[in-house]
Symmetry: C2
Subunit: 227 residues, 2 copies
DNA sequence: TTAATACTACGTTGTCGGTCGAAGTATTGA
DNA sequence: TCAATACTTCGACCGACAACGTAGTATTAA
């Protein structure tokens, strides 16, 4: 029997739940109340939706005191949502040449895509890594070169493959830029490093990554990016 | 503004429409009536659904006489559906250890995944290509090796990259096998070649690829597969 | 303990949309 | 021309479900 794609798609295919899931693309675990605010509904309704999403295996929940933290269940779910974001963006921009929304410019510049960086800045990063031959892209597939491995070892990146099945590198299509950016373990490390260095912080209740002036300078220096 | 993933997901997230879309994963264009039969509804209801799917940009329609042929709009949509099939399969098999459905064995053996081959046989094909170093898989990414390019040139495959952005090779995760198989231009060529040689035919109203006895023999010989 | 917060369970309401019957238009074939 | 087929439009019905108010149960803070 074929798997029933309607149940999963149906869970995502309701605007309120979709807003919650999109909010969780920020990678951070959010509480039920936060998600209720995000989706602009009461706590009761949110509770009901979140229950469905957990039962439907799209979210996992961690209880902490009187709070319940919800999170996307894994990279697979995040990838599905990103695919949906891409296609939806294609469709939306194909439709009306009018109102090609300016969008939140900060969201367009840099945002979190589950566990890695997305947006203009991440595309520039990707281009730089390609130009410097630290990653190689063939056939729309990416991998670290020997130089790349050295480079990331030098800057102290702990990106050992480990026993996880996750690829070191993975290109992720950006819905705002329509260009590739870096996902996978390496992409995840870069984002974490960013925060650890204090170069940027995640906006509350949003996927926006807000760089400090100096952070942006140091970041672009580290990865040789022209701003 | 973020794209609204709810509309696309909502279109897929209705069981009747999901059945139609899954049927179209066979890659063949189907008429409205055929899809109505497939989904077990009347022609009126089917018409309404198909209209929505076309408006929603998931399908394209070609009019031919008094028939209307519907088809998935492109590889992107097919990829989205395949991702959904995978996740749904994971979820379904995680749930009840009971009724791990035997499924249609023929569907499990060989089926069409939009424009390439999927199922047990395709996974074996993939493994054979890897073993013989005709394709290389690193970091979960695939590409044709030099030998691979020679091999496919020898057997007359016209798999020039062309100006299309489609990758030559692409691994596609199989929902029935939980293993990779070959997609992309090369995967498409192999499937077409199969039919051209008369080694197999597509079942009507299904994704099943039905091999002839001799076809299976010649196919496995051509690609050095152990059956 | 009392009060406040975070979340949940239940019952009601109202809307949205899937479904089909009936009737209509276009195309094909005899 | 007449009849059959393929698809669409309209209208009505009805079930599903999102939303919330009320009323609960945990957990924390004072």
């Amino acid at each position: 029997m074929q798997p029933d794609i309607a149940v999963v798609a149906g869970l995502i295919g309701e605007s309120t739940r979709a807003r919650m899931l999109t909010a969780l693309m920020g990678g951070k675990a959010l509480t039920a109340t936060e998600l209720a605010v995000e989706a602009d509904i009461t706590a009761q309704t949110a509770s009901s939706h979140l229950n469905k999403l957990v039962t439907g295996q799209l979210l996992v929940v961690r209880k902490q005191g009187r709070h319940k933290y919800f999170q996307l269940k894994g990279p697979k779910i995040a990838a599905l949502l990103e695919t949906l974001l891409n296609i939806s963006n294609d469709i939306a921009s194909a439709r009306p040449p009018v109102t090609t929304g300016p969008a939140d410019p900060r969201l367009r510049t840099a945002r979190v895509c589950y566990d890695h960086l997305a947006g203009e800045l991440s595309v520039k990063l990707y281009d730089s890594l390609i130009t410097r031959k630290l990653i190689a892209q063939e056939c729309e597939q990416v991998q670290l070169t020997a130089q790349g491995l050295d480079f990331f070892a030098d800057i102290g990146a702990s990106i050992a493959q480990g026993k996880s099945k996750r690829p070191l590198c993975k290109s992720c299509l950006d819905w705002s830029e329509r260009r590739s950016h870096l996902a996978g373990i390496t992409g995840q490390w870069i984002l974490n490093d960013l925060f650890k260095q204090g170069w940027a912080r995640k906006d509350l209740d949003s996927r926006v990554v807000q760089f400090t002036q100096q952070g942006l300078r140091l970041f672009s220096k580290k990865y040789s990016i022209d701003i």
